[in-house]
């Protein structure tokens, strides 16, 4: 391994980064605890039974354990390029694997790298990419900061909360739902098109083969979750497919070189 990769990795896994990330995570965890305690007390005050409140807490904790393990797999996948502490921060609070990787890749191209590749990273590129990742995900937080009170008041005033829940559960989705799916289809098409073009024009086949293995693995996950109804597997489908594809990339690297 070259010295620059070694030095980059040692910087992005430094004690300083662990400390900064630890402070942010500690702050957010304390705030979660404050919300938890306040809501529990308020629940008792308005006449909710303690056993119902405890049931919510226990079921939420157990419900979250499996998806959290898949988040951990995401941290492992991201840690090779962005280091353990920053991947840990991005995936255990605020972000999600799909968003983080895509934004990091877009930011990497904006600073002139050929993609999110550890062999091309430096601390300068890391801080720029990290800042794009941080600023790029603030949309919902800014909406909460400036509009949440007024928006919920309006929704409640129009008795629309029930409608929103009913819409989500029972009715055919509106164009909004398709627009989001369509946007992600466009996103994936751009990348898959680029991998295919790269394989045909530049004979760089490893990205395409890696994507192919990920797709194949995802197809197997989809078969078991959709056809065999093993819904718990859904939590692992993206992270699991990625890790298997990354393992395949190592084999392709050994066989083809790269």
């Amino acid at each position: 391994m070259s010295n620059s990769v070694e030095s980059y990795r040692s910087s992005v896994n430094s004690g300083l980064l662990f400390l900064l990330v630890g402070v942010a995570l500690l702050f957010i965890t304390i705030m979660c605890l404050i919300f938890l305690v306040k809501s529990y007390r308020a629940g008792i005050k308005i006449g909710m039974e303690k056993k119902v409140l405890r049931k919510v807490i226990i079921s939420s904790a157990t419900f979250t354990v499996l998806p959290s393990i898949s988040i951990l797999l995401g941290v492992i996948a991201l840690s090779g390029t962005l280091g353990i502490p920053y991947s840990w921060l991005r995936l255990s609070v605020i972000g999600a694997l799909q968003y983080e990787l895509n934004v990091a890749a877009m930011a990497a191209e904006s600073i002139g790298l050929s993609g999110l590749k550890v062999t091309e990273m430096s601390m300068g590129s890391f801080t720029t990419i990290a800042l794009v990742m941080a600023a790029g995900i603030l949309g919902s937080l800014l909406c909460c900061l400036f509009f949440l009170g007024r928006y919920l008041k309006k929704i409640r005033g129009n008795q629309a909360a029930d409608t929103a829940a009913t819409d989500a559960k029972d009715k055919k989705p509106g164009f909004g739902a398709y627009a989001t799916t369509a946007m992600f289809i466009g996103l994936c098409s751009a990348y898959i098109g680029a991998y295919l073009g790269d394989a045909i024009r530049n004979q760089n086949v490893i990205p395409l083969l890696t994507a192919g293995v990920a797709a194949l693995t995802m197809a197997i996950f989809e078969y078991f979750t959709q056809k065999k109804n093993i819904k718990a597997l859904d939590n692992f489908s993206v992270a699991g497919s990625m890790l298997i594809a990354m393992a395949a990339a190592v084999c392709f690297g050994q066989v083809i070189g790269g």
């Binding site: 896994n13 995570l25 702050f27 705030m31 979660c32 919300f35 306040k38 809501s39 308020a42 629940g43 005050k45 308005i46 049931k55 919510v56 079921s59 939420s60 998806p67 951990l72 941290v75 840690s79 353990i84 920053y86 605020i94 191209e109 993609g115 590749k117 300068g124 890391f126 801080t127 720029t128 790029g136 603030l138 919902s140 900061l145 009170g149 919920l152 909360a161 029930d162 829940a165 164009f175 909004g176 398709y178 627009a179 369509a182 946007m183 466009g186 994936c188 098409s189 751009a190 990348y191 680029a194 790269d198 890696t210 994507a211 995802m218 197809a219 989809e222 594809a245 690297g253 050994q254």
Partner: protein
């Protein structure tokens, strides 16, 4: 507590959650933005502002509209406390929303009631704390594995994280809506094969590909073919 007192109490409770929520969101935003800046300052590798704005513009065009849609759709389900916490702690669609719906379901709590807001907030807070604990334990276990993860043999794995992601996600989305997929995918393959310079410009390609897919989805939706 009669209904009037309950309503008054809950209004005051929500007001206090808004205050704590806004403070928490503001400090969190500062922390998220400051970490790369502080690291850059200490390592003499500050973020390049030109590259930042160029990257941010591309990201914001895609993700800010998504963020607004998520805010509009999810906040009525999450309530005041749940919304602040869910958007700070992330993994909203894939974890927090299913978790909240599950909690409401098993406790038979109707939406739009004070009880529903309490259940949402408890659920999101518990879920976030559980994730933090599980991932923290996992990270402690990963650290001793660092020499293995950093072995040069594994470099192709970490150089191909993005293809691995889009292979998996692509399959998931493509089979979900094949009618929307066909044209944008074919167009991107053709474009990248005929104009090789576009291969390294995926962040630019996303815009026409996304626009094309949304346009096709709109037409199909309008004709009732979705």
């Amino acid at each position: 507590m009669n209904q009037q007192e309950k309503k008054q109490f809950f209004e005051n409770f929500n007001k206090s959650l808004h205050i704590i929520g806004k403070i928490t969101v503001s400090i969190s935003i500062l922390l998220f933005l400051l970490i790369p800046i502080v690291v850059g300052f200490i390592y003499h590798a500050s973020p390049d502002l030109g590259s930042f704005w160029s990257g941010f513009a591309k990201v914001a065009v895609i993700y800010y509209p998504v963020a607004i849609v998520e805010f509009l759709v999810y906040t009525p389900m999450l309530g005041v406390g749940g919304s602040y916490l869910a958007f700070i702690t992330g993994n909203v669609t894939n974890m927090k929303i299913p978790c909240v719906m599950n909690s409401k379901d098993i406790t038979d709590t109707p939406d739009g009631t004070p009880e529903s807001e309490i259940v949402s907030t408890l659920s999101v807070a518990t879920s976030a704390i559980t994730t933090t604990v599980v991932v923290a334990l996992g990270v402690i276990l990963i650290i001793p594995l660092k020499p293995v993860l950093e072995n040069p043999v594994l470099l192709p794995a970490f150089n191909n994280v993005v293809p691995a992601l889009f292979g998996a996600l692509g399959l998931k989305y493509f089979i979900k809506e094949p009618k929307i997929t066909a044209i944008p995918l074919a167009a991107m393959i053709l474009l990248c094969t005929l104009v090789p310079a576009m291969i390294s410009q995926t962040s630019i390609l996303i815009l026409p590909a996304g626009g094309l897919a949304i346009g096709i989805a709109y037409l199909l939706h309008k004709k009732g073919k979705l």
